[in-house]
Symmetry: C2
Subunit: 347 residues, 2 copies
DNA sequence: ATGATTTTTTCATACGTATCTATTTTTAGA
DNA sequence: TCTAAAAATAGATACGTATGAAAAAATCAT
């Protein structure tokens, strides 16, 4: 109704100073005497004045807005990260504008266009990859981009991930140390760098130990598809192959798929975890610690990842150089009860 | 680096028209001939022009930004809702600016101040209540506010919730119909309207059936506290009370607490669910359908709630009347396996 | 106390767009 | 073909702030 809209001009009149004086009081690094500062503050509080960020953005070019592109929030890893991201950026005076990139591939481009319309100072792309055309556009607009939980070669983009390769390798060594011989893998979405690196690390460690992947199915980071993958991998009555012993361990590319796999193993196939099958996965979302799953998993340290993301963004915003950085955060294995524990395992 | 910043002025020059012509082409409801529209579009695409939303907001007062205050994202209900909210608002040309209201109570006020700095066109407050002072501020600034999943009397604020009272009553009738006599309740945070209404509905239905609450503990919407509450409620070796038979059913104020309660019952106390204890709760987050929990629960229809929230917001934005609305979405009970199913139960 | 220097202040302008007013062009009517 | 009305366009201004240049005030050195 009664649109207030207190302006710096009104404050200036009440305080008996010029509009620019008011502005300087609210601009860090500008000169203002104690006396006028006091007068302005007094007038501002009586009128309830607060600077209009959008007007400030117009002239200074600093919108205090960070654009966040995210494809889906079902995997609890992302809400967790967003909460931390938003909190940390808030402390630095920035705020997060959300853009959902629906699964339809093509519209990521249009989403980024929308982001740029808001004159954001930086973009965080979570679980999403950018076309090189898009990356160029952001670059030429001078807007830093950080990929979160995805890496991408060739575009010169900054990215922050967990060390998926060594994390995958750790999972393999854990299963091998426990004496598993027939080890399966349920993959994530084939296009995702996380999927690729986790699998590379896993199979590399198997090979190094003279072992090899016993079975592989595709789960596409979806619970339904992971259940189906588990059925294919573990029901030995599949007619299309000759009889084959079922795996005695499985590495699942992320926790959410692992939940589906465990449920399928236990409640559909009547298998015990970890007695019949060891299950290990990747992420360590909160539900992994819930006793019903009690999942042994490789932890993505969301806190660290967020911290690095914010650091890179701030560096690039404040020093117009867009020198890209690629960060991989170490990912420890969290031993719980879903996979047989090797004798004498300590760390 | 090379800040592009294509302006309507540059487009105008290339197209051989005035800046205002360019503006009118991009403003719906303004007159422009086919010829100039074509010329402008051509020039715009060659230069890569897109209107600057912030500049537009300056003069039109329409920022296309909706502020979202949210306290925490651990409960999957909220990420779910945010995804839907953001998607729906995106379709209408709005975008969501996130503000985390850390648990410290006092700073919700400062968070709302920050929101207003961005000249948002509306505010959605999820799982948060506003001081009356704050509500007034928003009202006098002409900015619509919708409480999401909380209601609040007296402030004249719009709110969208599920029908927590009747949902709680449904839970009670379900347990009663299954023959349960000793029914416990694990409460959420005492200040929350959801907690209050669910409990009211639950106890009202018990009373109506001539029954009464057998035990009550506080869980504060926290998994740890819910576990502790379950221990207090179900371990009959607590020394501070005389021997008391344990409840044979429990209504937990939300799903996440119910997961903790089920884990505690099963893995700490050695009780079977639902054979020894029926568990029923509220929300129907995705994990409730996971087979390890297979939770019978009252569904909050996030999709409907979001739709109503967006509708109210749009109505209030486009018709400067701030007539508040209170919406309660019907909440069906989703029968799964965590609570004994009454004989002949169909709906 | 006086000029030199620094700090503070005001004034004017710019940011990129929408929109009001005035003007020009197009269309319609006879 | 000429006039009246309608449509389209250009020009000017405003939104609320930051900031460079110029002016004023305060501080300092001698």
């Amino acid at each position: 109704m009664s649109k207030d809209k207190v302006t710096s001009q009104q404050v200036a009149e009440l305080a008996g100073v010029s509009q620019s004086a008011v502005s300087r009081v609210y601009t860090s690094g500008a000169s203002a005497s104690k006396k006028t500062t006091a007068k302005v503050h007094k007038a501002a509080t009586t009128l309830g004045y607060r600077p209009n960020i959008l007007a400030r953005a117009m002239v200074s070019g600093k919108s205090q807005i960070i654009g966040l592109v995210v494809a889906y929030l079902e995997n609890q890893f992302y809400p967790d990260a967003i909460e931390k991201l938003s909190t940390q950026l808030q402390e630095k005076g920035y705020h997060v504008l959300i853009f959902m990139a629906s699964k339809t591939a093509g519209n990521i481009d249009s989403v980024v266009d929308e982001i740029l319309d808001y004159q954001v100072e930086g973009i965080i792309a979570a679980s999403v990859t950018l076309s090189s055309q898009l990356a160029d556009r952001c670059h030429s607009a001078g807007i830093p981009v950080v990929l979160f939980n995805r890496s991408q070669d060739g575009e010169g983009l900054s990215c922050v991930t967990s060390d998926n390769f060594s994390g995958g390798a750790k999972a393999a060594r854990f299963l091998l140390a426990a004496g598993h011989k027939k080890i399966g893998y349920i993959a994530g979405s084939e296009g995702a760098s996380t999927q690729r690196d986790r699998e590379f690390g896993f199979t590399a460690a198997l090979q190094q130990a003279g072992s090899t992947l016993y079975a592989r199915e595709e789960g596409d980071f979806s619970m339904e598809k992971a259940s189906a993958a588990a059925r294919r991998m573990f029901s030995n009555d599949t007619p299309n192959t000759a009889f084959k012993e079922r795996p005695d361990a499985v590495f699942v590319a992320n926790d959410h798929m692992a939940f589906a796999v465990m449920d399928t193993l236990r409640f559909e196939l009547g298998l015990r975890v970890p007695e019949d099958v060891s299950v290990i996965s990747y992420d360590d979302v909160p539900a992994a610690a819930w006793l019903a799953y009690n999942l042994t998993t490789v932890r993505q340290r969301a806190g660290q990842m967020v911290q690095e993301t914010v650091r890179i963004l701030m560096e690039q915003i404040h020093s117009n150089g867009l020198q890209s950085q690629q960060i991989a955060i170490g990912s420890p294995i969290i031993v719980r009860g879903s996979a047989r524990i090797p004798e004498g395992w300590d760390s």
